[in-house]
Symmetry: D2
Subunit: 340 residues, 4 copies
């Protein structure tokens, strides 16, 4: 099997580090280029945990260097910065997996919830990198928009039930995330003293991941009631989802059948937890129906768990890269949890 | 002002300790009797944090001793055990605040969700001790059933909006609680290694606090979709509530108006958190309306936070005792949070 | 009993908040003035947990306002800033409890470990506010230097044994502190993701609290080997101390005797923990002798625990203020721990 | 390269799980046998995180089955139980890595600190499995006693400096460990509510790992002053070590030189932390000298960090197995930390 040379732009942050960790052990990808905004630092200075593991240098990002060093590149950059790099990298013929929000939404939605889009051309042919939805398209894509962590977690929980959903009823997604999702940037919110022994909702009903969820579900933005909560732990995310479905369904069987061939979705008979997925690309899903007899349907409670930095970002990005390069999607993807 | 002699039966557990801590500083209650199932131990052996603070002895519980030592007694006992003591204590003329589940439900509901009731007589005249609902009745009660922690938190969030709710739509209560709510008993679930860095739902849609919430709201059990989650922190609880209300309401004003004279409910302009209520009897509530235009109404998101051991148990019990004894309900009640 | 009007300058930080919380419940102090560097904010905007508890305004600090509002003032300011205020406040006849490091050391030591001292005159007559060492002097002081948290914890553990110590042997203080000791300021070190599941030493053998400990013990700086460690919890501090003492001593009896009349030191037969002191002014101390027969003595292990924000700062400051105003030192001082 | 069939007896606990996780990804070991005391359960029922990863069955332990399934076996059993299995397994010609304490001490010390030894014959030829000390002997051993977590961490910190140590001065080891070291067994000590926001020493100066450290250092038991502390985190361990060394040494150079060829020891210029080693077999070590001029030497502070479940147990066990089978010791050993 040929080896593909790959690069990571945005090596400083948490998702950059996770990409590097996966790529260092990947059998068919060779990590050949690392960059951040400053450059000129060794990888083990940037991430001391990698001392004696990898002695690469981190460059100041340069598009020509990327092009000469790699066939495929991961962008772990903030939105807006990402699209500035996607344009020239695609022009130079590279394959790109973009972990930012820049190519996840329609143009209209992006400009409503984020900012002006400066690369409409590539936005037209981008593929949304949720393999369970778009596996075949990903295989032939040159640009993949890696999904947000909340959308990944919520969509995988919701997809099996959308065809059974009672129309015009609310979709409620009460999400709980660890603090690594907020990134490395300092803020009062992520100060240890503020998070420890605490818990709170943030951006309730207005978080920018809601339109991403709505678009992929094919429902209007207003149908999605999305409230994320910050939890005092480092990594992991659970979506507690409540929707109304037709009265006669067997939710567990529907769920099991829907994902029966999926390598990275596990159906659970007990409520899911974070420790079983932290460190892996798995999404664990649990479902329970209420006895509630509403006018038109029943409530089902769906609980789906992922590692926000892996399935919600970096390992899913490598799955997408595997598919783009014609590899088995499981190749080099972490599946053994950190537990305990 | 006369001083009332009070006792605590069930001094070993978390809620027993919280009762003792409040009563030691109460200006008009004199803590005169402490008991647990074993007895014969000093309070500071049982709770080393009280060394040099209180040198009382903890007795093996004896109804005659209680009657001769106290005018009012708090029962911090498991359900079923509690009602065995309520009967003789009421018979002896004591006032009782029962922190167990034994007198919170109708007979039918109790026997469906718990066990056979052995004190139907007192069940008939018990008052449910949520002051914001039943303040006047509590004042003349001899037996008060102190509400469960989840019902306290959920009811305070829901009550202002029930008259605006669209009938026959689901009430969704996604609750998050710290681990102290599970009590001192050892179990795999509460082992540190299992809780730390973890998060999970438990008893989804089947928890016994759901019928308690439903009965006080006057809705059928099936309308309440209640899912508690265990969070890696010690004390505090947040209910994230989603209901459908009429389209034209101003949720924030309704909330503010509803609680305008309440000393222990605070309306918050920002999403509530646990640290602002931990250590106090406050319930903090936040509300936000969605733009969603459903057929008959809008979703509102309500977030209410309490200290599960205080407002969810022990400080609310002392508020009830204050009311039963004709005192100002704020008397001796903690209102300064532990934060940071 | 007359009421003393008191003020807090530095109302924004953790120790400022703790001072306010204590003073709001103090029977003989009336909180009459609050200031921070910005001013013009209500207390409950600054500290939302105090909503519905106290409706004071926080001023921009002004010495004349302080002087007209208070008889005694607490300074919860960074070092260097503090001495700029001490000078005029003392000149105006106020009593001052300074929580900064500005008056804790000799002039020489201060200028070696901190910066140039700008108030040498007051430095001459300041009293070090550790009541167990300097109670009588504190009673007549107009300026008290409130001890650092680490020195408070280490000194209370060491004092009983200094007369039995083998001369010229190392004093080893391995301290562990919660994160609130680092204050509210943002830094990579206190980001939740960096602290959670982590543990590390910082400033080993060079921390500025070492000379403060050495001076109060009357030993040379070099004899004190002080290494603080950051622990993933919010409040509390334990010093694990190792010293060599004469062979024939009974360490437990010495400890018990030394503190037999002290209201805020408790001797423990089991290793101390944080939860028993968090929320209080207590210092809990445990001692254990090794069998080790060294040339001249035995090792003793001393473990002392305090709440770093209370006994290590704010409640000790109020004890000092009590003494300065002729009150019982226990007056209004928290003694009931937050546990569980 | 031939593949060695290996087994794990004691598959239920934390170290059993870690062994399994490593062995599943090992290129030259084939996990061929799993047992616990009950048996008759699938691996993914026992450890749900391994669902869809490994579908092995866990047997009730049987010596003949082990012998027919494996060439080498890991025992992750409590002391006393372990030696009951070692005897027949060695008799059947298997190689054994024993993770218990049964073969770590001299007969005399074992019987003083643990219990009667029932396999004195194998105790005579066992090799202590710290590769940095006994690599060559491990290579030809049939029975390796895998070191305790505290001894591994402390010895690796101390070894480079023992030849420079001032004789007859105390060795002080102030250790801090996460809760996974206490195992899965339920106890009040490991209840989440007791550990969270808490910190305490346990078994100070009397812990059974002290004689293990002393014997390997070749000093008397009494010279080792070992105090472990429980820290509110799951995995990781730091030893803060204080010893007196000759005045003229350069501690950092000594450390660097001592470990210059070691693949799993990293020398750090900054104080070590847990997150850089958690998930790996690395031991990170930092050293700092005090200016203290004692009579005969100086104090050095050594800080060494390991993952207590990996370098302190399971990954070190696999390193030992690698050496016993003639493999490169790094083969299949985790070196990429879980951070963040």
């Amino acid at each position: 099997m040929n080896v593909t040379r790959v690069g990571v732009i945005g090596a400083s942050g948490y998702t950059g580090l996770e990409l590097i960790k996966i790529l260092l052990n990947h059998p068919y990808f060779k990590l050949s280029y690392l960059a951040n905004s400053e450059g000129n630092i060794s990888l083990d200075e940037l991430h001391p945990s990698l001392k004696n593991v990898c002695d690469m240098q981190v460059q100041k990002v340069d598009v020509d260097d990327v092009a000469s060093s790699c066939e495929l590149v991961f962008l772990a950059l903030p939105h807006k910065t990402a699209m500035e790099f996607v344009k020239p990298l695609i022009a130079k013929g590279l394959k790109v997996v973009d972990l930012s929000a820049d190519y996840r939404l329609s143009l209209e939605a992006y400009e409503e919830f984020y900012t002006t889009h400066t690369d409409k051309k590539n936005l037209e042919h981008v593929v949304y990198g949720l393999p369970e939805m778009f596996r075949d398209k990903i295989k032939s894509a040159s640009l993949v928009a890696n999904p947000g962590c909340f959308p990944t977690c919520a969509l995988l929980g919701l997809l099996p039930f959308m065809s059974k959903r009672v129309p015009n009823t609310p979709i409620i997604i009460d999400a709980k995330t660890g603090v690594s999702g907020a990134g490395k940037k300092l803020s009062d919110v992520t100060h240890f003293v503020n998070v420890n022994d605490n818990l709170f909702a943030y951006n309730p009903l207005t978080h920018r991941h809601a339109p991403e969820i709505a678009q992929k579900l094919g429902v209007s933005f207003d149908e999605v009631n999305f409230v994320p909560h910050l939890i005092p732990l480092t990594r992991g995310m659970i979506s507690s989802i409540y929707i109304q479905v037709q009265k006669d369904i067997d939710a567990f069987s529907i769920l099991k059948e829907f994902y029966k061939d999926e390598p990275f979705v596990r159906i659970s008979k007990n409520p899911v937890d974070m420790k079983n997925v932290a460190g892996t690309n798995f999404c664990d899903i649990y479902v329970k129906q209420n006895r509630t007899s509403l006018e038109k349907g029943n409530i089902v409670f769906i609980s789906s768990a992922i590692d926000n930095l892996l399935r919600g970002a970096s390992s899913q990005a490598v799955v997408n890269a595997n598919l783009m390069m014609g590899l088995d999607e499981s190749c080099g993807i972490p599946n053994i949890a950190y537990v305990p």
